[in-house]
């Protein structure tokens, strides 16, 4: 009897906790949708803001956001994958590797505003890259690096050892095995890591405000400045310029990030089916 009551209470608590999570997400989404849906239109997506009230659309900020995160992804992926391969396959497991891992985890928890300040000092000023896509991408890549590196390392480690043995058994060298068997086998999880980190970068505000500036501009070259969607949203809302447009931007932003997460989920699912 007593046991059954405890069981019941535990179940109820777990259920309530789970419901809270879903509830919070649901409420947030609903709130953003209700407030933002009115602003959404093709014109809102595809035209530039006009006038002091920033009527019109947000196209330049969408381009800047996609540009800077795309560039950051291109910078991060090779570095993170090479670092992870080194850590998982080549480095002698010991103090040094432990230290590198700890550094990566710490890097991941550095407040993004500090990362932004650092990006401002290093890329914008010291390296003279100015407020630009490239400064923003480099700073964002610091943010993404530990995420991609750690997920890639886990992905590599989770490739079963008997698959590696199959390759070694055929007279493959370590590098051949890593390149032709281990990385392809780990690639769905690596891609998932990259997508999640990119989603994180899309939503980043502090880093880009310090490194890309706030100028509304449709960037073409890496040295062009620009205003990201998040910064646009911040300015519109905080300065009370145009609240409906702020909510419209928020809705698009959330939709993009949700899209990223769903894509990651889809890749994991498809992979699970393929691997049996």
């Amino acid at each position: 009897m007593n046991k059954r009551v405890t069981n019941w209470i535990a179940l109820g608590a777990l259920w309530a906790a789970a419901l809270t999570t879903v509830g919070v997400l649901g409420t947030l989404l609903l709130y953003v949708i209700i407030n933002g849906i009115g602003a959404l239109s093709l014109r809102f997506v595809f035209s530039a803001p006009e006038g002091v009230r920033m009527e019109g659309g947000i196209w330049p900020t969408i381009v800047a956001t996609v540009y800077v995160t795309g560039l950051a992804m291109l910078i991060v992926t090779p570095i993170a994958v090479f670092a992870a391969v080194y850590l998982a396959e080549y480095a002698r497991q010991g103090r040094l590797v432990g230290t590198i891992r700890f550094a990566a985890d710490t890097l991941a928890s550095v407040p993004s505003i500090v990362m932004g300040l650092f990006g401002l000092a290093l890329f914008v000023e010291a390296l003279g890259l100015g407020f630009s896509m490239i400064s923003g991408a480099l700073a964002l890549s610091f943010l993404m690096l530990p995420i991609v590196m750690r997920t890639t390392e886990e992905a590599i480690r989770s490739v079963p050892k008997y698959i590696r043995w199959g390759s070694y058994g055929l007279g493959a060298t370590k590098w051949q095995t890593v390149r032709k068997v281990v990385l392809p086998a780990a690639s769905p999880r690596i891609i998932t890591g990259i997508i999640l980190a990119t989603g994180r970068a899309v939503g980043e505000t502090a880093v880009v405000i310090f490194t890309m500036g706030t100028m509304i501009n449709t960037p073409m070259l890496p040295l062009d400045p620009g205003r990201s969607m998040t910064v646009h949203l911040y300015i519109l809302a905080m300065e009370g310029i145009n609240l409906p447009a702020a909510y419209g931007t928020a809705l698009l932003l959330v939709a993009m990030i949700l899209g990223f997460n769903l894509l990651a989920r889809f890749i994991v699912r498809r992979n699970r089916r393929m691997m049996g």
Binding site: Y162, I163, W165, S167, G169, L170, G171, V181, P184, A185
Partner: protein, 275 residues
């Protein structure tokens, strides 16, 4: 006693000419860190014949098998003393590259382990590593190897499909094809049939019989009937005490070892009294 079996096999009424030793092991000790897994193993593996390693679980059969293609080199902390020769040459001599050795000594594992790529690419993997690039040549090798591995008929129309989509038994034969594609002299098989369906087991035993005239096969198996069916020579290993190293108890012609074992422990094992 063992010596007489090693060298006197032909005298026991067999009219075949005794083949030469392809692999020869002298005084082998093997260690995982501080733990000694094998002690004083001396045995020969006959060329173009099938040799079975039998013995209870944990007696070091897989460990011993992995010494022949230096797969144990990949496990940190392992160490070995003694001598193993392939065609008379010491495979642990300085200057021997294990990567080259493994091309000549292929291995099949208990768990089928196709790579996550197409059936075709699985088989072409080895030849590509070793520099075969021409499509026509690769096509030939892939078909031939799959035929020799007794799986061509089942996969010839789906070569582009993922290797992991096949059944376990087909996967195992795919792995055999993958190894045959690099034309090894020796084929090591570590319990190749313990995780697959009976039809595939039959097909693997058939292909072994066909390969026997061309290559040297060493198979580890827990299945006495299988050892009796597929092998001409059998070696029985036993670890008498836990934490003690295992030893080679008896080696000889399969027919003799199974009908009139010289060692009491061999008899106990093959009649199922322990293990």
């Amino acid at each position: 006693m063992i010596e007489s079996r090693l060298h006197g096999g032909a005298a026991h009424g067999s009219d075949e000419v005794e083949a030469a030793d392809k692999l020869s092991v002298t005084d082998l000790d093997f260690y995982y860190g501080d733990f000694q897994a094998l002690a004083g193993v001396t045995v020969g593996v006959k060329e173009r014949a099938t040799t079975a390693f039998i013995g209870p679980s944990g007696c070091g059969k897989s460990t011993f098998l992995r010494c022949f293609n230096r797969m144990n080199d990949l496990i940190p902390g392992t160490r070995l003393t003694g001598r193993i020769t392939l065609d008379g040459e010491d495979i642990y001599a300085p200057g021997v590259d294990p990567v080259d050795l493994r091309r000549r000594v292929g291995m099949i594992f208990q768990q089928p382990n196709p790579f996550p790529m197409s059936i075709y690419d699985n088989v072409a993997y080895g030849p590509r590593l070793h520099g075969v690039k021409k499509k026509a040549r690769l096509d030939d090798i892939v078909q031939q190897s799959l035929e020799r591995a007794n799986v061509w008929r089942e996969v010839k129309d789906i070569l582009g499909r993922g290797g992991l989509t096949l059944s376990g038994g087909q996967q195992q034969r795919l792995c055999i094809a993958r190894v045959l594609a690099v034309r090894p002299d020796v084929l090591l098989m570590d319990e190749p049939c313990s995780a697959i369906d009976p039809t595939s087991v039959q097909k693997i035993e058939d292909l072994m019989a066909e390969l026997e005239s061309e290559i040297t096969i060493v198979i580890v198996t827990h299945n006495m009937q299988q050892a009796a069916r597929v092998s001409q020579f059998t070696a029985f290993f036993l670890q008498e005490e836990t934490n003690e190293p295992a030893e080679l108890v008896e080696y000889g012609r399969t027919a003799e070892l199974f009908t009139s074992p010289e060692d009491k422990r061999t008899e106990d094992y093959i009649t199922g009294r322990f293990g």
